[in-house]
């Protein structure tokens, strides 16, 4: 089947990075959705960095890759095959109409061997096997007008087997004669081959270097690594002209990532020290200044998620007409370091203390400098539901919530994904660590016409325990310790 024509559009190869596998497809889809073009994913596998997509145009391909973080580059697919003869046949059949503009162009060939390795000699032999292409321009190493890349996808372990089985003199064999000599056992070969014409590289390496936490002025132990923060911003559709909010902003790592994509951002935190920072450049504002976009930090303030000052909450009318935030990003504290907190008194304090203002030296205690409101333990599940309720009210139609939640790897905690009748779950991506994992949940605020009026927001009952451990199943599990990982 000819994938490059028919049905409109072209087939492109996205050279993904082999990390954060479960985020890659979701990131591409989020960007295509944001930029409002149709993208069909024709071939994607978590085990491979080569993803084939159909896009309406090369302009779309450029726009897609310019925002993608977990990819290196995008190519027009010239052909694919299970071995070199079938790759060449495929290139002849599918890409002949693409050659003419490059007849006199300077060009270069590259070999990108995933999980494989080719000696210089083998590389030369592979490149020479394409010498029949009508390219008459000079071969250059830098600044080529046409860059063609041969992609090899090796099965895990095959390259190792190949090196072991290879006789010393077989180094001289080119891939084709290895296939031709069928009397000998065939050494392992790549399972899939592609030839692609480079269109554009992603902004990945530039962005990862720029937002490296090691070079950031103001960070804390909870700051988000640049790569995964930028992916979160993509999932939340951060873009020029939009307003994104982080209700648990900390040092502002997620807002910074959103601002990278041109969004206006704001944030708050229950801990005023986080928002104010340590003075001068060591503050959230300082981080925005460091990156040269201080105008993209609207404001930071001190507030508690359960008693948010943002307008629209608790107002039936406002709830119906949708909110004014384009996106919400957050990484709720799951209490590994400290129990989840919300303002309010612990149960025993409530019972013991007479309700009413507290006076110290004749002054209202909460107006004194340095007043720290009491904090009560807060169930993590209840907090997630609060965030969803908040998002449902505050987001514009089609606005997005991208929220991180922890998940333990091997245990009997149910993988509960909080849901809300006004929010549609768009994607669910998992990042695994040694003994635990976390998920990025992305939701879309439904348009008024999409909301099923018969659906009532379901209310869960939560643990009423007093300690953070009793309230927070994840934290409890964490401190009980996980069983060692089987491997």
């Amino acid at each position: 089947m000819d994938k490059s024509s028919g049905d409109g559009g072209n087939v492109f190869l996205v050279r993904l990075v082999q990390v954060y596998e479960s985020f890659r497809r979701a990131e591409l889809e989020a960007i295509a959705d944001l930029l409002e073009f149709k993208m069909d994913i024709l071939d994607y596998n978590d085990d491979s960095p080569f993803c084939l997509v159909r896009l309406p145009s090369i302009q779309n391909a450029r726009a897609l890759i310019s925002r993608t973080i977990i990819a290196h580059a995008i190519y027009v697919l010239w052909g694919s095959g299970s071995d070199y003869p079938s790759l060449r046949t495929s290139v002849r059949e599918q890409s002949a109409h693409l050659w003419a503009p490059f007849a006199e162009s300077s060009f270069r060939f590259e070999i990108d061997s995933f999980r494989g390795k080719r000696s210089m000699k083998e590389q030369r032999s592979i490149i020479e096997s394409f010498s029949w292409l009508p390219l008459n321009g000079p071969i250059v190493m830098r600044g080529a007008e046409l860059t063609l890349t041969v992609f090899e996808d090796w099965a895990a372990g095959d390259q190792k087997r190949r090196s072991q089985e290879q006789k010393p003199d077989s180094e001289s064999q080119d891939p084709e004669s290895a296939i031709a000599s069928s009397s000998l056992p065939r050494p392992p070969q790549p399972k899939r081959l592609y030839l692609g014409q480079l269109i554009a590289e992603s902004g990945r390496s530039h962005a990862l270097a720029k937002y490296d936490l090691k070079k950031r002025v103001y960070v804390s132990t909870t700051s988000f690594a640049a790569e995964i923060a930028l992916v979160t911003a993509n999932m939340a559709h951060a873009a020029p002209g939009r307003l994104l909010y982080d209700p648990l902003a900390g040092t502002g790592s997620l807002p910074v990532a959103c601002a990278h994509f041109g969004a206006m951002t704001c944030g708050s935190d229950i801990d005023g020290r986080m928002i104010r920072g340590k003075g001068g450049r060591r503050s959230v504002v300082g981080n925005f200044e460091q990156y040269g976009f201080k105008e993209r930090w609207l404001d930071g303030w001190v507030s508690d998620l359960t008693n948010s000052p943002l307008r629209g909450l608790g107002d039936e009318e406002a709830t119906r007409r949708a909110g004014w935030l384009d996106g919400i990003v957050c990484d709720p504290p799951y209490g590994v370091r400290e129990g989840c907190k919300t303002l309010g008194k612990r149960r025993e304090e409530r019972n013991a203390v007479v309700e009413g203002p507290v006076y110290i030296d004749g002054k209202l205690s909460h107006l004194l400098d340095g007043y720290v409101p009491p904090k009560k333990p807060y169930s993590f599940d209840a907090m997630l539901d609060d965030i969803l309720e908040f998002a449902a009210v505050m987001l514009v139609e089609n606005g997005r919530l991208a929220m991180w939640v922890p998940t333990a790897n091997e245990n009997n905690i149910a993988l509960v994904t909080p849901m809300h009748p006004h929010l549609e779950l768009v994607s669910e991506c998992i990042q695994s660590f040694n003994k635990w994992s976390r998920r990025l949940l992305t939701y879309r605020r439904l348009r008024a016409g999409e909301i099923d009026r018969s659906t009532k927001s379901r209310k869960r009952t939560y643990g009423t325990g007093v300690t953070a451990n009793e309230l927070n199943s994840f934290r409890k599990k964490y401190f009980e310790g996980f069983k060692p990982t089987q491997s």
Partner: protein, 147 residues
């Protein structure tokens, strides 16, 4: 805290959410400053329909800022295709037809995104609770008896 943000916040107390008197919060003893920012026409255009215009007018009045028209401008008023006189010589033919920020957009930018409340108090018109603003950062945490 910028004037735009003041249009987005109300009293943090749940009991005040439904009360029209709680919004906007009244600035008191406000110390203002202008912090120059690059203009972001796309953002101003997108945020304009989300403003509570009457609340914005009220806050401007209380702060002694410019008098705003009684009704919100339309997003169309933010751009002009006629180049400003000073720019005419510079603008080439193609550029002349590009929408340009109008004076109204520049004024809104200055008001919403450059005018900042450096310090003072924000007072709820319903319950009278005062939220402090220090070094441009407002504190909406509630004392325990109001939670």
């Amino acid at each position: 805290m910028k004037i735009l943000t003041l249009n987005f916040v109300t009293c943090a107390r749940k009991a005040c959410k439904a009360s029209p008197a709680a919004f906007p919060l009244r600035p008191r003893e406000a110390e203002l400053e202008i912090v120059e920012q690059d203009i972001n026409p796309l953002f101003v255009r997108n945020v304009l329909p989300r403003l509570e215009w009457d609340a914005l007018r009220e806050v401007c009045g209380e702060l002694g800022l410019q008098q705003l028209p009684s009704t919100a401008p339309s997003p169309d008023d933010l751009f002009t295709t006629t180049p400003a006189a000073a720019d005419t010589a510079m603008a080439d033919a193609a550029d002349a037809h590009e929408p340009r920020p109008s004076q109204l957009l520049r004024d809104l930018h200055t008001l919403l995104l450059e005018t900042t409340m450096r310090s003072g108090k924000l007072v709820c018109g319903n319950c009278g609770h005062e939220y402090a603003v220090k070094e441009g950062i407002a504190n909406f945490l509630l004392p325990s008896h109001l939670v």
